[in-house]
């Protein structure tokens, strides 16, 4: 029983790391909202927000302050506690994912070796799944508690969509896990850093399925049925005002960032910068380059998300279900079989 004998340095280190990661994600999410508006604008031949601060860079701050200062409305017919719980849950669930993402290789500071990962747990990717499966509660509870028919429909859509696509997501990932033989994200990334190829080369179909499922899990177009503004009028967060609305909007963007980070780590080598020999520079600098690489990969993925959103129409509910159950899952199983067969053949 050596639990009380904490390594206090480790505790402080992790606390700082948590703070950096959480606030970093929040900051990135803040600017992702701005990015979304800018990307949409540029794809649509218009300049986008450019009047708040230089190049409109203060736009997200303006939105944030405005949302905080806005009146809180809790509809009289709503279930008060659950109404407040909803956005909180959505936000928490989306932020919790960042615990297992390896942001870079180890750095050395004050004579300590610091891992740029909050927790390297050996069930890392399962943890992500557990957290993602929690995420839907925020939407469901919020939508139900609003006591609005549109919100309720949106909650139901969100729930069935999340369950269906989680399955495909998991199956797509299992094929990858069969090749990596580890559940730890850190190990998976390290394998890609050391190996010659990224996992995308071995699992192109798996990645495609995972990506589509990630779109669905983040409620992004073409799977943004829960908030389809033309049908359900923003759905589950229709009755929300002020910062509770902000939480929901934020949660969506943080989800996007996290799923991008996971896709980058699982399939695109995480913090691995190709054609670059880390040993030529000091380890700390190499780690920083790694962090930068990962961030760039995340940004690229986020751009992809937005690019898709501003290009294609959305599915209808039954088509979405058909795609999930009749196309994605069989394809994922097929991918699994092929992968298994190849692994057997290699051995």
């Amino acid at each position: 029983m050596t639990i009380l004998a904490f390594d206090w340095g480790l505790v402080i280190e992790k606390l700082i790391l948590i703070a950096v990661v959480v606030f970093g994600s929040l900051g990135i999410a803040l600017y992702t909202t701005f990015g979304e508006r800018k990307v949409a604008a540029i794809l649509q031949d218009r300049p986008g927000p450019n009047r708040a601060g230089p190049f409109g860079l203060l736009q997200p701050l303006a939105d944030g302050i405005k949302l905080i200062m806005k009146e809180e409305i809790i509809p009289t017919a709503a279930n008060k506690w659950l109404f407040i719980l909803g956005p909180g849950l959505a936000m928490t669930a989306s932020l919790m994912t960042c615990a297992v993402i390896p942001w870079g290789s180890d750095i050395e500071l004050f004579g300590r070796k610091i891992a740029l990962q909050i927790a390297d747990i050996n069930i890392g990717i399962l943890y992500v799944f557990a957290v993602v499966s929690m995420g839907v509660y925020g939407i469901m509870i919020g939508g139900w508690a609003s006591n609005n028919k549109f919100s309720l429909m949106s909650s139901l859509r969100a729930a069935s969509q999340a369950i269906s696509y989680e399955l495909a997501m998991g199956l797509a990932l299992i094929a990858l896990l069969m090749t990596t033989e580890s559940l730890s994200l850190k190990t998976i990334v390290e394998q890609q850093v050391q190996g010659s190829w990224w996992n995308i080369v071995y699992q192109p179909l798996g990645f495609l399925l995972f990506f589509i499922a990630a779109l669905a899990e983040c409620n992004r177009t073409p799977f943004d049925l829960p908030e389809a503004e033309n049908e359900l009028n923003f759905g589950y967060h229709q009755e929300y005002s002020s910062m509770k609305l902000g939480f929901y909007l934020f949660a969506e963007y943080i989800n996007m960032i996290m799923s991008s980070a996971i896709m980058a780590s699982m399939y695109f080598g995480g913090y691995d910068l190709p054609f670059f020999d880390e040993s030529t520079v000091a380890p700390n600098i190499a780690a920083m380059i790694g962090v930068g690489t990962l961030l760039i990969k995340i940004v690229l993925f986020i751009f992809l998300f937005m690019w898709i959103r501003w290009t294609i129409p959305r599915f209808r509910y039954d088509q979405l279900m058909n795609l999930g159950w009749k196309t994605m899952i069989p394809l994922a199983l097929f991918n699994l079989l092929i992968t298994g067969a190849l692994i057997l053949a290699n051995l």
Partner: protein
């Protein structure tokens, strides 16, 4: 008391309170949410028992899937707070007394067993909860039950679809 003890008591209290709230909540949605909290508490216990896979599966399967299903069904039916007809007080009281008696009886039995009296639970050590070992056990010693359970799953799925189609 060690940290583990404190954690144990905290989690236990949490679990029992939440379980009681499941029982006494009028609103089924509240019951579902309290039950999710119970599952989280039990998952916490699993961590203390070093059953990591158990923890995560408990969360994914119970909290992440089964309870979503419950919530989904409740929302689908749109059961209101007061929709449930209340049983008579006497019936309720009988139920509570019966449950209480069961609890007393069982605890008495446990107290009398000498076999386990002083056995300590080794916490946070060893490898038996790791996925590696569990996977090996599942796919060697327990492979037949494992396969049977997958068949069970399939048949349950078919069954649910058939019932639902009616």
């Amino acid at each position: 008391m060690s940290t583990v003890d404190i954690l144990f008591y905290l989690l236990s209290a949490f679990a029992i309170v939440s379980a009681t709230m499941v029982l006494i909540s009028k609103n089924p949605i509240h019951s579902v949410l309290w039950l999710i909290l119970v599952f989280f508490a039990i998952s916490g216990h699993y961590i203390l028992l070093n059953a990591q896979f158990g923890t995560i599966v408990n969360i994914i399967v119970y909290a992440g899937a089964i309870m979503v299903l419950f919530l989904f069904v409740i929302m689908l039916m749109n059961i209101k707070k007061d929709a449930e007809p209340q049983k008579q007080l006497l019936v309720k009281l009988t139920g509570v007394v019966a449950g209480g008696s069961l609890l007393t009886l069982l605890i008495a039995v446990v107290k009398q067993t000498t076999q386990i009296e002083n056995k300590q639970v080794l916490l946070k050590e060893g490898t038996i909860g790791l996925i590696l070992t569990l996977g090996q056990a599942l796919f060697t010693d327990y492979v037949i039950p494992f396969e049977i359970s997958s068949v069970l799953f399939l048949s349950a799925m078919v069954g649910a679809v058939i019932i639902g189609k009616k």
